[in-house]
């Protein structure tokens, strides 16, 4: 890998708090190594801002290895930046060239209000999980793990759906701010496993109802969510959610 350094122009959304109107600020950043991660580049800028007596840019980040789902920047018109199957923290500066201008915005959706600068409030996702994204099994109730064989392909598919990191890029990318990929992934994960079967109907109905209450839009199958999902969660999970939801609605006893 050829290493190089670059100078960039950053246009970043600044917003003091939820009630502030917010605006863009432009910052030059110099001597950025192609080896840095995108967030390390922001670190460099923040250090510079603090030294200049200005306020650093607030952004969510934690594990910096692409798994916690906390980082959430909309970079040059794409959530998590230009790379496929990637989170912002794993985006590296070799994706850019000297002289580039990079525009960084927070996730935009009514259901994800801005907390500060690039941070948004994604607690709507937690509330959707509370509505049914679990299997009701109290600690100590479990039978032996190998007592229920699970078809390997189903287990693999459930795993692929469960790989969702809850970052919200799907919502950020969707023109409708729909959370269907997130909900579809969770409903699929649990519906594909025999352990999840008893609560299947209620889970699908209640999670969709909560999703609607949170103010997410409806899914129009444009596929933008799948394209930006850092974990490559398939849009097929949305079709499965639709199926689960309707089967639940049509076959309920009451």
């Amino acid at each position: 890998m050829q290493h190089y350094t670059m100078n960039l122009t950053l246009k970043v959304w600044r917003q003091k708090n939820a009630s502030d109107k917010g605006h863009f600020e432009t910052y030059p950043v110099k001597n950025i190594s192609s080896e840095m991660s995108f967030l390390e580049m922001i670190d460099v800028l923040n250090e510079q801002l603090i030294k200049e007596g200005k306020e650093p840019i607030a952004f969510d980040h934690d594990c910096r290895e692409g798994i916690c789902g906390m980082c959430s920047m909309y970079i040059n018109g794409r959530p998590h930046g230009p790379w496929q199957h990637n989170t912002t923290c794993q985006l590296h500066m070799r994706a850019y060239q000297d002289g580039d201008t990079i525009v960084v915005e927070p996730w935009r959706a009514n259901a994800f209000p801005v907390v500060k600068d690039l941070m948004v409030d994604r607690s709507a996702f937690d509330r959707i999980i509370q509505a049914g994204g679990y299997i009701s099994v109290n600690t100590g109730n479990a039978v032996d793990a190998n007592s229920t064989p699970v078809e390997k392909e189903k287990a693999d598919e459930a795993f692929a759906a469960a790989a969702c990191i809850g970052c919200g890029a799907c919502v950020a990318a969707c023109k409708n701010s729909s959370a269907m990929l997130f909900v579809g992934a969770k409903v699929s994960h649990l519906a594909l496993l025999p352990q999840g079967a008893p609560e299947r109907k209620n889970r699908a109905m209640n999670m969709v109802a909560q999703m609607d209450r949170e103010g997410f839009g409806a899914c129009t199958n444009t596929g933008a969510c799948e394209a930006v999902c850092p974990k490559g969660i398939s849009i097929e999970n949305i079709a499965r959610l639709n199926r689960e939801y309707m089967m639940a609605g049509l076959t309920e006893d009451k």
Binding site: G77, R78, D212, G223, A239
Partner: protein, 228 residues
């Protein structure tokens, strides 16, 4: 869950779009099939007979009511969804995502649908209104009187370049609308899985190319005088 909830949730609303959409897709098959009778090159005999059957038999007449209901439901629900979906993001992005991840026509179903609505207004006033309400000139086939819908077609399209172009444009709008709508309806109804996905998708592409193409050929052929 109450029945009403089933159809008013975000998933339920989409189900209405999918169901009516597939119903309209089926209607298109019938419509294109009947209209293709003009290509029989028999001066419109077969076509006028077919049109007569559709206009006089009870079954198609009842279905016609359903058709109008389906179209209206599809339109109203579509517009309502478009508005509420747009409202889910009050503050937009400075740099739009554009085609990074989705096709323009997938994102423009509301616009394409509205164009189709405008097209429909024109189309209905050209053919349905005269044939059902204001009346058409009769034509004698085998000693029996028929509405000369074929004659009406010739009259509308021959020597009328602007109208022909509008019809062709309408068919383009239909093609793009179907290109997304066909497979999307199946997804919305949860009728796809890994196994059938490729089948549904390729059927969708074929359908969205062939049907509008055949439709578009009708005014073009009449205008060019290939069908008399």
């Amino acid at each position: 869950m109450k029945w009403s909830e089933l159809f008013t949730s975000s998933v339920g609303k989409k189900w209405i779009m999918g169901l009516t959409g597939i119903f309209l897709v089926l209607f298109l098959v019938v419509h294109v099939g009947l209209n293709a009778c003009i290509f029989a090159m028999d001066g419109g005999v077969m076509f006028n007979k077919a049109a007569h059957f559709m206009g006089s038999n009870a079954v198609p007449r009842i279905l016609e009511v359903g058709l109008f209901a389906g179209i209206i439901l599809h339109m109203l629900q579509g517009w309502a969804l478009e508005l509420s979906n747009r409202a889910a993001r009050k503050k937009g992005y400075a740099v739009p995502m554009g085609n990074k991840g989705s096709k323009w026509y997938s994102r423009s179903m509301g616009l394409l649908g509205t164009l189709l609505f405008l097209f429909l207004v024109m189309h209905i006033s050209h053919f349905w209104v005269p044939s059902r309400i204001t009346g058409l000139e009769p034509v004698l086939i085998d000693g029996k009187e028929y509405h000369n819908l074929y004659g009406e077609m010739l009259q509308v399209f021959q020597g009328n370049l602007a109208v022909v172009l509008l019809y062709v444009l309408g068919c383009f709008a239909l093609a793009w609308h179907l290109l997304h709508g066909f497979q999307s309806a199946f997804r919305t109804l949860g009728l796809t899985n890994g196994r059938y996905l490729a089948l549904v998708e390729s059927a969708g592409v074929l359908f969205s190319v062939i049907i509008p193409l055949v439709f578009a050929l009708m005014p073009v052929c009449m205008y060019m005088g290939w069908i008399k």
